[in-house]
């Protein structure tokens, strides 16, 4: 897993260069937006993968971490004039601590119990934020408009800086995920996934590594949340804390290929543009056909290609050799 062939390295470099060049070639606002959403969900998918893909903790509550990140940096900026970059770190830490707080009591839960518990947890967070006056309750928060600069993490005239920031976040997440999985932690996580008893027998502290995974995953997801707040400049519980966001993240990882580094990225590059462009093309007819196609895609992939598109690609790659 850790070793790359020169061909693979070359491929990654080409893709990265192409992504860096993209805004220089394609000038439209909407394509840039679609790419930013692709990066954002890919990043959350990569973060989810640390839990679900490597440690079999199927979290359906990532929206809670996303929301905590978005709200923390925004509240700090609005009430205490704290720079959003610092807010980003604070939000990440808060999300990681929340993840730990929920992860410790849930550490005995496996499989579906964990999935349901994570939904329940995220719903509690949503309901509380929806009624909590200090965070704007249901009315939400409009961010104060600062002059545009990288330092202020805010741009008004163009989306391109947002594009590069999100791309950098994504690359960082992939790197962290790769680093963890090629090192001992990843080995432990996989051992836990394969068998709890085996892992215990090997003397792996089951609880501790699960906790690490939750915390890192929560931190990265919260980073994406802060990004969302700085990008949309408005947030309310209905746009950042709802179950469909958590589900979207799971689907991105699952469709691309859970438990692989690049799987969630592949999943996001298919799903996000698909849902954005089907909305544009089919949404105005008001029928929901786009969502039906989406449902069919999920059914087909999970029933007939459960290793995801990445699994399919590697299988083809091997056959080609």
């Amino acid at each position: 897993m850790g070793k790359f062939t020169p061909r693979q390295i070359a491929l990654y470099v080409v893709v990265l260069v192409a992504l860096i060049a993209f805004p220089l070639v394609v000038k439209g606002t909407f394509p840039t937006h679609v790419m930013i959403m692709f990066f954002m969900f890919a990043m959350m998918g990569v973060a989810w993968n640390l839990l679900g893909g490597y440690a079999a903790m199927f979290s359906f509550g990532q929206a809670a971490f996303f929301g905590i990140g978005a709200y923390t940096s925004t509240i700090l900026l609005m009430n205490y004039h704290v720079n959003p970059w610092i807010g980003l770190v604070v939000g990440g830490i808060l999300a990681a601590l929340t993840g730990a707080a929920i992860g410790i009591p849930c550490s005995n839960l496996r499989g579906h119990y964990f999935a349901i518990a994570s939904i329940a947890f995220a719903e509690i967070v949503r309901i509380c934020f929806n009624n909590w006056k200090f965070v704007g309750a249901a009315e939400g928060l409009s961010l104060p408009l600062l002059p545009e600069s990288l330092g202020n993490f805010m741009f008004h005239s163009t989306k391109v800086p947002y594009y590069y920031i999100m791309l950098a976040f994504l690359v960082l997440s992939i790197f962290i995920c790769w680093y963890i999985t090629v090192n001992r932690g990843g080995f432990y996580l996989r051992a836990i996934k394969e068998s709890h008893e085996l892992a215990k027998g090997m003397g792996i502290s089951f609880v501790r590594y699960r906790l690490y995974a939750i915390m890192v995953s929560a931190f990265l997801t919260a980073m994406a949340g802060t990004f969302y707040a700085q990008y949309i400049l408005y947030l309310d519980p209905e746009s950042v804390l709802i179950l469909p966001i958590s589900v979207q993240v799971v689907l991105v990882a699952m469709l691309g290929g859970a438990g692989t580094i690049m799987g969630p990225v592949i999943g996001a590059v298919i799903l996000i543009p698909l849902s954005e462009y089907t909305r544009v093309w089919l949404g105005t007819k008001g029928t929901g056909v786009d969502m039906m196609l989406y449902g069919v895609l999920i059914m087909l992939i999970s029933a007939y290609q459960p290793k995801g598109v990445w699994g399919l690609l590697t299988a083809i790659g091997k056959r080609a050799k």
Binding site: E139, G140, R279, V280
Partner: protein, 424 residues
């Protein structure tokens, strides 16, 4: 191989080039493109589609010749000062999500080249969409979102025609005061019941703020989740508090559920005045006679036709086009295209700065508006229509009947609320 690929590329380029020339050709044909963002799929798609009907009819009237309609630009085809240019609405679906509101507004402006924007319905989506148009310097006229915060942002390009929730809340208190005078009764206590998304909690906040000004005591302040499966505990609290009047801000699902539960548990205050949910087109077909006697805030009711022949004429066109009566949502969204077209016509251009200037000078008289207003004129600072006000309708015999202001009422209000037990 290489040659083939080159030819392919050439082909793509040719197609792109011809496409862009085609769109330039359309522009020369004097079409004014206006973007409209609405929730056309997803949870509240039925409302979004309803709004779209209102907008489409408005555009038909502007573009066609309707000499017998007293509406701005109805008599001429298109916009006469712009050489008869026609309005074309480019719709986009938000799915009701703020992030899509922003993305679609940006796409419509930068790719579809719309010169103005309308819509959104949900206030949170209007917020992000109008933020985007503000940044892109494109005028936005909204006639269907009711959060007071929208016109407290001091945006330069954003205008609102319709009344907002603070106005609607005040209307209901004025109604109670008028009723006290007219019927020689006295109310002492109010209960505020509201769903806890943005819309409901805003209304709740306003009720709590305004009630003391009118000398009413709030005996119950209940917020609840609009997607609740069961509301018996909420109604239990209401029965315990036993207010003279209940004010209820709801969406449609909870309006249906509460109506059924009020009946089941026998909740009988002197009167129930409500917001939004009870006037959605889906409400009455679902609850039938149980909806009678609820009082609802409104901007529009078909019985206004008695005093305003315009309403009947527009509804006739609406019915011909869609086979159903015009609803409150459709009627609200109907007005924004007129306001924009009127401003562009006076400005003789679609250039944003000039249109904004013309919008600020808007002065549409009341007889050219579908609602019982003095007219349309924007506050120079907030850009809220200063003449916008609500009316109250009551469901009587399964019809929406205008009952307040008393001088434009089609029928007297039935008050107090007849006990459920005595109803069939």
């Amino acid at each position: 191989m290489r040659g083939e690929r080159g030819r392919g590329l050439l082909f793509v380029l040719t197609v792109l080039l011809s496409l862009s020339m085609a769109s330039a050709g359309v522009a020369a044909d004097k079409v004014i493109k206006i973007g409209a963002v609405y929730p056309l799929t997803g949870n509240i798609a039925s409302t979004g589609l309803d709004c779209r009907r209102g907008v489409e009819l408005a555009v038909d009237i502007i573009n066609g010749k309707y000499p017998d309609l007293n509406l701005p630009l109805a008599k001429d085809a298109g916009l006469p000062n712009l050489g008869g240019a026609k309005i074309e609405i480019v719709f986009a679906d938000t799915k009701g999500e703020p992030r899509n509101g922003q993305a679609e507004a940006e796409r419509l402006v930068t790719q579809e080249k719309v010169v103005a924007m309308i819509g959104a319905y949900q206030s949170s989506v209007t917020k992000t969409a109008s933020q985007a148009t503000e940044r892109l310097k494109i005028p936005y006229v909204c006639s269907d979102s009711s959060s007071p915060a929208l016109t407290e942002r001091d945006l330069k390009y954003f205008f609102r025609v319709s009344p907002h929730d603070a106005i609607f809340v005040r209307d209901q208190f004025n109604f109670l005061r008028d009723l006290e005078k007219a019927r020689n009764v006295k109310f002492h206590t109010i209960a505020a019941l509201y769903e806890n998304t943005e819309f409901g909690s805003n209304v709740g906040k306003q009720i709590l703020k305004v009630a003391p000004e009118y000398g009413y005591r709030v005996v119950a302040d209940i917020s609840y989740a609009a997607n609740a499966t069961d509301v018996t505990s909420e109604v239990g609290r209401l029965i315990k508090a036993s207010p003279d009047v209940l004010m209820h801000a709801s969406y449609i699902t909870d309006a249906i559920l509460f109506t059924k539960t009020f009946k089941e548990m026998g909740f009988n205050p002197q009167g129930i005045t409500t917001f939004a949910g009870y006037i959605e087109p889906g409400y009455l077909p679902a609850v039938k006679g149980d909806g009678n006697y609820f009082v609802i805030r409104s901007t529009f009711a078909l019985d206004l036709a008695k005093r305003k022949p315009l309403v009947a004429k527009v509804n006739e066109l609406f019915k011909k086009k869609y086979g159903i009566d015009m609803s409150e949502n459709a009627a609200r969204s109907f007005t924004a295209p007129f306001v924009l077209a009127d401003a562009m016509n006076r400005a003789k251009t679609t250039e944003a700065e000039a249109v904004v200037k013309a919008l600020l000078a808007t002065d549409i008289p009341g007889d050219q508006v579908l609602y019982p207003w003095i007219g349309i004129k924007f506050d120079p600072q907030s850009h809220q229509n200063i003449y916008a006000q609500g009316t109250l309708v009551q469901i009587q015999d399964q019809n929406y009947v205008t009952v307040w202001p008393f001088d434009s009422a089609a029928a007297p209000v039935i008050w107090p609320f007849p006990p459920w037990k005595s109803r069939k």
